[in-house]
Subunit: 420 residues, 2 copies
């Protein structure tokens, strides 16, 4: 394997395929049921460690960082301060909220040395609430907004859906802290809009519905964002007129009607929950005694909201939503590279590759000494949006093709520049 | 708390202190012994979850991302492909290498549902070797270089050194794969140089020594990078002439002499291990049967090297190495911001803040309505390299002061621009 030392090509947007240590697989992996994991494994984006646990290989990590970047931008636009909490959490915090015994997906274990009992965080209300308690005292300290990207852990009963349901998974969790319900409500509605922007930018906006779901003890309903896919584990009822949906679990409470327009013409679909937003109110601030003094000096509980998005679940969902029988079809916003440059003879693509680097394009350059057939097959499997081919036959021209279209065109580099 | 929605100031290099939900602490936290954690907690960079486990608050995360960025650049310059492995690992892999029973720092536990036994990875040879086995077959696939930034877990007997020794910690681990010893040796030496560049750029180069340490079964010596600090848990013997050191554990084997110049004039110091590099040879490739066919078709074992840097350990080490009785003194490369703009009256700094944003400076703007004394005290505690003060007294000028110097100067904005 050849790598240009010092060039830092890999993460600055370009990569030679001969530098990638990863190989595509000719056949579906045997021990995998789910379509998203099969495709991601065959394309060399992920490696399966065991059921529900996947490692991200270079192209998979690049795609996940794209998703992370889009979510981060939208969360910062909502005023969020990024922090990074711990996976290891003390038993005491989970006893405070009663979830030490109540939550069946907790991985719990005891330190051999300290004899302390730990939880591997499946969510972080038990950590974020005490953190904010150290900093919120007065109405002047509110509202406050924090979020993180972090690995979470759940002892799932079944983990057969690839990246859609992991025992270890990468998640964005956002927590908001408010002085009163009106402020929480207003922020919650704005966050729902931010979530719509996220899924729109991820290329799954047209298949993703704001969905009414069970609200637990502290709110009548919560809202999920559900993406329609046959691989989904949930059932939702979509009102096409309002472009919202209702989760099967509460459709009875709603008399099988759209909560917005009361229409009973609902379309039933399988779907996967890619995000959720939740009014926690004082569910966690009460047990941790997170309160503040209002402008008259009266002590009041802080009200909370929480907002999650599964980052590698989004990765899996995008693959479920966007593929064909040849491989993955990445949306441009999430693709590990925008262009896949294929040369039909060693060295033919080098000049164009250099030019594209100089112009700042994200390009994967297939400089491998393998057959054209293998290169085309791998290009379809990898699913990069634009395929460029340089051959001896068309010396002065570049053959360009979109991954999701059949038509090829012979163009000049100047035409590619006009794509943006 | 006021935050300009949509401005995305926070992570693009600017922040208003009134937007930061974090408050500094007036006194040392009671349940903390270590100096680095005390300072980082008082300055609001970290939150202590429990012994050996810390959450990173916004300023702490910014500093850690700076360290991560420097390390990433140097690892990419060594040809590394970034991946992201899992924290959860299967028992079987650790039985394959014999470390399931041998490694006393392993957190081990059993899934309630699957009854599978897991390890929380303290290191990743048991995962990276099987991953590369899927992709390395021939001498043409070698060498290969992969690395990751990831949370690791160790069931430490004692965790009283703050960020220097965590039960959960953020680490860069790099693995190299070679066809023969000459290639491994050459790469190992170049990696030692890359490590020197990392610690130089982190501002601890002058206190960090390449240190001969125990090599285990497969190499006579390994090399650590040890930073001299009274908080260190190791003892090293420094040869000032050669600027290298020997760990106490092997100084006897070396007859108490410098391995390079044989001098016996060695200086004994306490130090903390911020990185290590290790020739693993076939220690892990043999049990996992990671082999390749050479150019004559002969099957041979792949030889490995591994190279670690503790990222939040570096954060703690920098604080130990660079502080005074007023607070932290960040090196410019790691500081969460380059400038700390303080206004003596509300609104006075706004125009300069806007100008600095437009010019792309990293600036924290203390726009809080608190006393000048409190602002100066917090500025010293936070340790941002350049303090700028705008006051009514010096309307047209800016008072500038370095964190580690006493002298203040009255300058124009044009002078600040010339700093770069």
């Amino acid at each position: 394997m050849y790598f240009e030392l010092g060039s830092r090509e890999e993460n600055s947007g370009q990569m030679k395929q001969s530098d990638l240590f990863v190989k595509t697989l000719k056949e579906d992996p045997k021990d995998e049921e789910s379509l998203n994991a099969k495709l991601l494994m065959r394309a060399g984006f992920v490696y399966k460690v065991m059921a529900g646990v996947y490692a991200l290989l270079p192209l998979g990590l690049r795609a996940m960082r794209k998703i992370e970047g889009i979510i981060r931008e939208e969360m910062e636009s909502m005023g969020g301060s990024e922090i990074l909490m711990s996976a290891l959490q003390p038993k005491a915090n989970w006893e405070t909220t009663g979830r030490w015994n109540d939550l069946d997906v907790l991985f719990r274990f005891t330190s051999y040395y300290s004899k302390n009992e730990y939880v591997l965080g499946p969510t972080h209300e038990e950590e974020v609430t005490p953190i904010l308690k150290q900093h919120i005292f007065s109405y002047r300290d509110l509202p406050a907004y924090v979020f993180q990207f972090q690995n979470k852990f759940r002892d799932e009963k079944r983990a057969k859906s690839g990246l859609l349901r992991g025992r270890e998974f990468f998640m964005k969790d956002f927590y908001s802290f408010h002085a009163d319900e009106a402020d929480l409500d207003e922020y919650y509605d704005r966050m729902a809009e931010a979530y719509k922007r996220v899924f729109e930018r991820l290329g799954i906006g047209d298949k993703t519905y704001l969905t009414f779901a069970s609200g637990g003890t502290f709110a009548k309903y919560s809202h999920e964002f559900q993406t329609v896919t046959p691989a989904g584990e949930d059932i939702i009822y979509i009102c096409d007129k309002c472009a919202i949906a209702v989760n099967e679990e509460v459709i009875g409470d709603m008399d099988h009607a759209c909560p917005q327009c009361a229409s009973k013409e609902l379309r039933q679909e399988k779907s996967i929950e890619v995000g959720n937003i939740f009014k926690l109110k004082d569910k966690y601030s009460a047990p941790f005694e997170l309160s503040f003094k209002d402008n008259e000096g009266v002590e009041k509980p802080v009200l909370m909201g929480c907002y999650g998005i599964g980052v590698n679940r989004c990765l899996g969902t995008i693959v479920e939503a966007s593929h064909d029988d040849k491989g993955i079809v990445w949306p441009e916003s999430v693709a590990p590279f925008r262009f896949h440059l294929i040369e039909m003879k060693p060295g033919l693509g080098e000049a164009l590759y250099r030019e594209m680097i100089a112009d700042g394009y994200e390009v994967l350059y297939d400089d491998r000494d393998v057959s054209a057939g293998e290169k085309f097959k791998d290009a379809d499997l990898l699913g990069i949006p634009w395929r460029l081919v340089v051959s001896e036959r068309n010396k002065e021209k570049i053959e360009i093709k979109r991954r999701n279209e059949e038509q090829t065109l012979l163009v000049d580099y100047a035409d590619i520049r006009r794509l943006k």
